[in-house]
Amino acid sequence: MSISETANPRGSVVDRLRDALPKLVLSPTVAIVAIFVYGFIFFTLYLSFTDSRILPSFGWVGWKNFENLFRIRAWDTAVWNLVIFGSLYIVVCCVLGLLLAILLDQRIRAEGFIRTIYLYPMALSFIVTGVAWKWFLDPGIGIEAVVQGWGWTSFEFNWIKDREMAIYTIVIAAVWQTSGFVMAMFLAGLRGIDSEMMKAAQIDGASTFALYRRIVIPQLRPAFMSAFVVLAHMAIKSYDLVIALTGGGPGTATELPATFMYSYTFTRNQMGIGAASAVIMLMTIAAIIVPYLWSELREKK
């Protein structure tokens, strides 16, 4: 590194090492990603075409696992549950998040404090959220028992034990956990809108409602995009919350693809089918994430 090195002939080993240093530093990460992300993806992809059961095995069975998968009732339930849960979760989170953000954007006193309260569930583990709501919604001791104790003896709220309704309790708990975060995203979007434009619209005579509907909300498109991507990918990956809240039950009423994959792979010893279900999950997420990442990274360039 001293000046005397100036005279060194170019292209020496030290020099070449120095030039390659940045790539060298990056290479462990590249290796890790190549093996533990993409290698593993291909491994699982491969397994989904094999007759693996308790352990990976390499007998090629073609599309049989996928055919079987779609014949399994539990998978059917899981996919439908995901559709119900995912769409409700995304819509309710967005509506609630946007509402809260707009309410908080009205020059509120103690805004920081209120924001903190709305957002804290995001710091919790889904397991904790699941435990809290599990007992809170439990008819024996939770809200139903409490209201009945207050004198309204005919009050019923036993969704968590109801095959038809149990999936909605997952939505309730998930929305509780995430909506504050969506609010924060929208609030950041709102704060990014040029205040002079708001003034101009007020001078143009727009009512508060028209102001938000015509001027503000259309400009929140990027925030909606981000919220959608984040929520959709969280919905597809949802696992912990179901395990803690309902354990997939009653019966298989709240099974989601993530829990299905886990139980078929590790407890029912149908690894090939488990792998096939994971592949379907990956494809679904990729369909959402890849275009998003593509547009984000392109824009940057």
Partner: protein
């Protein structure tokens, strides 16, 4: 062979060639300014000298030693950046000392040099502050101090004044010039400001589109621009360029120009260079200070000619009044004395000092006379 030699250097990014083959030889103690609009390749060339960018082909040598492949730290150069690039987490002292530290200079020697340089630049009282606590002008001084302590062979300046306000920029310009005269160091300086180029340099390279358009002393560049680009780029307000035709008047070549009121006028050239080009279309170039009111014309000139032309706009600028007329469909600006009574709409005598006129080929845009 000069002190800093740029030999047939080029730079491309993939298929895009941003610097065409360039040859510049800089003598020791010279102040070379690379000037041009953004994207002309001047900063690329500077970064190539610094070693921050590779040379695609050709060679750059300092003191006769090829610098190709030598890393920036080992070229014995110092650089002042546009944003000053002061390390935010270090004090001024730390900033100035860092480079010496990296080059293994003893602490005692470092202290001595810091003292000298901070005296020279009058920043001694700032040494223990962080860059965030300094004004723009102070940061500028620290950045120069950081370069100076290295006692490099070549100083590189990358638009160092462009982040300062107008007043401070003029002051710092003078100071850089003083510093150069005092220390006699070799400097390569990049700017897009042609006034900086003219005031500071001993030589200027005007660049555009990856080519060096003209390399010369400030006077050569200003008086004899090699082509229409250089003519238009250097000088403010810029040189008037308008179409004319070479005609023969009294046995001498003259430029026939078309005035706004439809009349034509023939102004004889001071030189005979275009005698063989009668009938040829040209672009005539005359700087605003060579188009004056009658009494303001250069008394030493042998070739002042009066043209009566309609005045379109007058722009009083305090010390002078700029008077605009249309010639050959182009706005042509003259620089009149401030107290000349001239108004828009008047037909007024304009005095053309043809000694300062140049002519360009309309197709190649190169100067022909």
């Amino acid at each position: 062979m000069g002190f800093l030699d740029i030999k047939q250097a080029t730079k491309s990014y993939g298929a895009l060639q941003v610097l065409q083959e360039t040859d510049i030889s800089v003598e020791e103690g010279e102040f070379l300014v690379l000037v041009g609009p953004s994207g002309c390749g001047k900063s690329t060339l500077l970064n190539m000298i610094a070693g921050l960018e590779d040379i695609t082909s050709g060679e750059i040598a300092i003191r006769g030693k090829s610098m190709n492949g030598v890393k920036p730290a080992d070229r014995n150069i110092a650089m002042v950046f546009q944003s000053y690039a002061l390390y935010p987490n270090m004090t001024v002292r730390g900033n100035i000392s860092f480079g010496m530290e990296m080059h293994g200079i003893q602490k005692q020697e470092r202290e001595k040099r810091i003292d000298q340089v901070s005296d020279l630049l009058q920043i001694s009282h700032l040494l223990d502050r962080k860059p965030g606590q300094l004004s723009g002008g102070q940061r500028q001084r620290v950045a120069m101090g950081r370069a100076l302590v290295r006692e490099p062979d070549v100083f590189l300046f990358d638009e160092p004044l462009s982040n300062l306000d107008a007043k401070l920029r003029v002051d710092m310009r003078t100071e850089i010039k003083k510093l150069h005269q005092k220390l006699g160091t070799t400097i390569v300086y990049v700017t897009h400001d042609q006034i900086e180029a003219l005031t500071l340099s001993t030589r200027i390279a005007v660049m555009f589109g990856g080519y060096v358009q003209q390399l010369g002393t400030p006077k050569e560049i200003y008086d004899n621009p090699a082509n229409m680009f250089v003519a238009g780029f250097m000088g403010s307000p810029s040189m008037n360029l308008f179409p004319a035709k070479v005609v023969s008047g009294d046995g001498k070549p003259a430029a026939e120009i078309k005035l706004a009121d439809g009349k034509t006028a023939a102004v004889p050239f001071a030189k005979d260079a275009l005698a063989s080009s009668i009938g040829r279309d040209i672009i005539l170039g005359i700087r605003p200070e060579a188009i004056t009111d009658k009494d303001g014309a250069d008394r030493n000139s042998q070739a002042v000619h009066i043209v009566e032309a309609p005045v379109e706009v007058t722009e009083p600028a305090g010390s002078d009044t700029f008077v605009v007329s249309q010639i050959g469909g182009k706005d042509v600006t003259g620089r009149f004395r401030a107290d000349v009574a001239v108004n828009a709409g008047d037909v007024f005598p304009f005095a053309f000092n043809m000694e300062k006129a140049v002519a360009f080929d309309p197709k190649t845009e190169n100067r022909i006379a």
